[in-house]
């Protein structure tokens, strides 16, 4: 079974926000009202972590896309009292919405703060409803949600491969954020496949993982910025 993972090259990422918008639209993530947003209830499965360092003009703004790390050893699944968040057989961390009781233990346990809670029912202006992605279910009030690595795309890809009578290829399954990155900063693939670009990049000397010392074994790798060639 493939070990799906992602590599994000921080040297190439320009922080344009295409992945944020792509994710929001692909996964029907609700847009909360401006007032709710001000209370820190804005919902994103993928957002950018931004930190400015240094003094003008020698400023370096460091940007890192932050999404579910799909840990091999996830802290969130261990605290869920109802097994709503779990690690599936392909190693991806999933969330079963109807089972979730909204206790938010998993949000507290996640060291990467990538889970979002539905404080209210999703409100969509009626006209926009028709554009929602029919492959992704909506989440009701009171449940926790998070990035799924666009799991529905894996399902579609598997179906397609099966219909064509061939094994699943990497190109069959690319999350929305990876597909449309204008800087080609994100690479997605099977980390166990030695020929996969994602696997090769994840073994690069520049590769690192967030909060590695916690032992969560994330499947999202970051390639550190390179020193200026000048």
């Amino acid at each position: 079974m493939a070990r799906w993972g992602m590599v994000i090259d921080l040297d190439r990422c320009t922080g344009c926000g295409a992945c944020v918008a792509a994710c929001k639209v692909e996964n029907n993530v609700q847009v909360v009202s401006p007032a709710e947003g001000e209370r820190g209830r804005r919902m994103h499965w993928l957002r950018l972590l931004v930190e400015a360092r240094g003094e003008y003009p020698h400023v370096e703004v460091r940007i890192a896309p932050n999404l579910c790390m799909m840990c091999e050893n996830p802290p969130c699944t261990k605290v869920c009292p109802v097994h709503a968040t779990y690690r599936g057989e392909d190693g991806l961390v999933g969330q079963i919405y109807p089972r979730c009781i909204g206790c938010r233990y998993c949000m507290a346990a996640c060291p990467y703060s990538v889970k979002a809670f539905n404080w209210g029912s999703p409100e969509w202006p009626e006209a926009l409803l028709s554009t929602l992605n029919p492959d992704v279910s909506m989440r009701p009030k009171g449940v926790v949600e998070k990035c799924t690595f666009c799991y529905h795309r894996l399902q579609l890809g598997r179906e397609k491969a099966r219909a064509e009578g061939r094994p699943l290829r990497e190109s069959d399954y690319q999350p929305a954020c990876v597909h449309s990155c204008p800087a080609d900063a994100m690479t997605f693939g099977d980390l166990d496949d030695a020929l996969s670009p994602a696997a090769q990049l994840s073994r690069s000397t520049r590769a690192t993982r967030a909060l590695e010392h916690l032992g969560t074994e994330p499947r999202v790798f970051y390639l550190e910025k390179r020193d200026a060639p000048l």
């Binding site: 090259d9 190439r12 320009t14 922080g15 344009c16 926000g17 295409a18 944020v20 918008a21 792509a22 929001k24 639209v25 847009v31 401006p34 947003g37 804005r42 957002r47 950018l48 931004v50 400015a52 240094g54 003094e55 003008y56 003009p57 400023v59 370096e60 703004v61 940007i63 919405y97 999703p122 969509w124 202006p125 009626e126 006209a127 926009l128 409803l129 028709s130 554009t131 929602l132 992605n133 029919p134 279910s137 909506m138 989440r139 009701p140 929305a176 597909h179 449309s180 990155c181 204008p182 800087a183 080609d184 900063a185 990049l201 690069s204 520049r206 390639l223 200026a228 060639p229 000048l230």
Partner: protein, 807 residues
Amino acid sequence: MSALSRREFLTTLGAAGVVAASSGWFTRRLFAMAEEGTLRAPRGPGVERWVPTLCRMCPAGCGLRVRLVDGLPVGLEGDRTNPLSAGGLCPAGFAGLQELVHPDRVRTPLRRDGPRGSGRWTPVSWDEALEQIAAPLRASRAEGRPQAFAVLERGDSPLTLYWLERVLRAHGSPNLVVDATGEPWRSAWATVAGTARPPAPDLANADFVLSFGHESLETDGHPVWQTKTWGRLRAPIAARQASAAYVGPRMSPTANHADLKVAVRPGTEAIMALGLVHVLILEDLADRSFLDRLTRGYHDRPGGSGAGGDGFEAYVRSRFGLEEVSRLTGAPVSEIFRLGRAFGTSRRPLALAGPGALSGEIGFATAMAVIALNLAVGAMGRTGGYVASGGAPLDLPPPEEPDQVARRGLSSARVDGAGWATLPLVRQSPAGLAANLAARRPYPLEVLLVHGVNPVHEWPGGKTIEEALAAVGLVAVVGAVADETARVADLILPEASFLEAWQILPPATGIPFDYAGLQQPVLEPIYQSRAFEDMWFDLARRIGGPAAAAVPAGSYADWLPSAAAGLHRAGRGTIAGGPFHARVAGFMEERGWKAPGPQTAEAFWEEFRRSGSWVDAPRGEHSPAELLGDRAERFDLWPERLLADARKLTGTPVADDALYGGARAAAAGAAGHSDHPLHLLLFDTSTLWAGRTALTPVLLEMSGFREDIGWDSWVEIHPETARRGRIQAGDRVRLESPAGSLIARARITPVVPPDAVAMPRGLGHRHFGRFATGVGVNPLALVAPALDRWTGNAILETRVRLTRMPA
């Protein structure tokens, strides 16, 4: 879309079952909210189809694949086969579907009912609406005043411009006003090289890209193509690495990714460019052979006086000493040296200038200085330098001779003042339009048609523009959602979304190879909206006479295949099948092979529709001659003719070094405004795009996604400035300029210098659909309308005072 009654609608849904969502709770909610006229959620067998088209949220036009389930669009992604965007999209692209189904789209043509601006409208038919425009046009032409008709156009589609120009020419009006932010850059190239089209930077082959306020990774040029190119040069296993440098006052996202950034005071980019030329001279890094052979005025100034018949070299040496440049720009001499050396020692350096550096008081001088810097390293007509801009060999009807009435009309002065209130080489002067309209100068206008531009919101002095429009007989605004300008119009014409319309998009400018993208509808228009080109054809036919004869029979979609036949007949290039395909095709072509392609024009059109784009691989060979206009033999370093024109225009003596001397004087006089001590820097973001895209929830929520700000504007303040004003992050602050004031939230960040604050453009709509109205503030309220006579554009420069609002 057939109009079902609510009852019928709910019954059919109940019977058909639902694929839309798996949660029963959600489906109940979904259908409880459905209303007549909106698209319905997909139901039925769930048949999926992908249609290639183009994103038209910004002028770039990235390749797009739209996913349809049972005929309804439910998703989109970047088209990997597009030779420019190669699968990339920016955030705005993802809002395309939300814009398509925006609940406040204008559904039928609307006629004003009550006084202007009252907001009372009566739906009318297309026949009535277009007749209301055509009747006064017919009458004014019969009276010999065809010039009393003007079109204000956004100008991001060359074919649309072609048809506007053709019909207006036949009718006899010179008044096609394009809202061209690239005008300073264009007119500077026209001055230096005598060309009509500015050349394109060959970014893919440059090894050092120096950007003067050019936000290559955000909103200037073709951002996705530029980001892709930049990303490729950063690839972990790239054969060749390129460096990037940035000069400007704000450490923008593009600056952030530069290897070398040099901060300069606002409005001193021109000084820095000349300072770098000085470094090249001192270090003997200038391309002397190029300068000797192909430029005029480097060693001595032809016919000059005053600034000493000195050549450009001597002028820069004497007037732009490095200490002086350092004093004026605020950058240390060591930094200037470091940047100049890095630029000069690169094999294929290239310098860009963007609107941020060109829209100030000395924007034209900045453009000229940056071009001079490129000349100094010979970055002209060579691989990795500036090369001829790409286009597309489309089949267009041959030009027709205007009749006598039209000739008289065409010879009249332009209503925006381009060429008479500005320097003669300026072809577009959007900033001059409002002032002239209000004064009914040079003649009153009967009809003004506005398409894709929202001057009341996007230009400085919105209120004065509203008043100026009152002087026009009939104002018709074409748009999908009524904006501030539409509110004070007489007619609103609903425009189809780009997902409902046809277009062929050659590169506007700035792409170094030939290309054409095909935009095709993914569904029938939802409302009674029409593509702009279709309503234009219809209007021309109604005006009658030569205007009617200038357009083909049938719809715009009927005509497009005959234009595309030109691509087939050209016998070069290929239907795009991805970057790899384009490279292989180019490789073969260079060696005398031709990849097999469609045999007939019809087959070509079918292939074109399936693929979505056509491309001719970049040429390997270049020569400086391809950048020079027909009458030019060398690149002019001194704008002699321009100065003569300036003398004629103002009737006052203009010094020989008015251009760069003026830049120096402006920089030197910039200090010491005690009332308004801070510069205001305006910037655009890839979600707001100066206000045209920010009308859907997904983008409004992302308005300040890097700052963790949603649905609001913000002011960037340096920590030191904030400390002095006792301002903390998130505080409400007031910005006051001589022209106006506004209140916004403070964001404290070291990306702006202590003597400036920065604000994003694009929010603060007073009237732009239910989502965008009232969100954030419009910083243009702080800028007084002022015309730059050198470029015809508005001067987007002002100073402000910052105070904290009491809690």
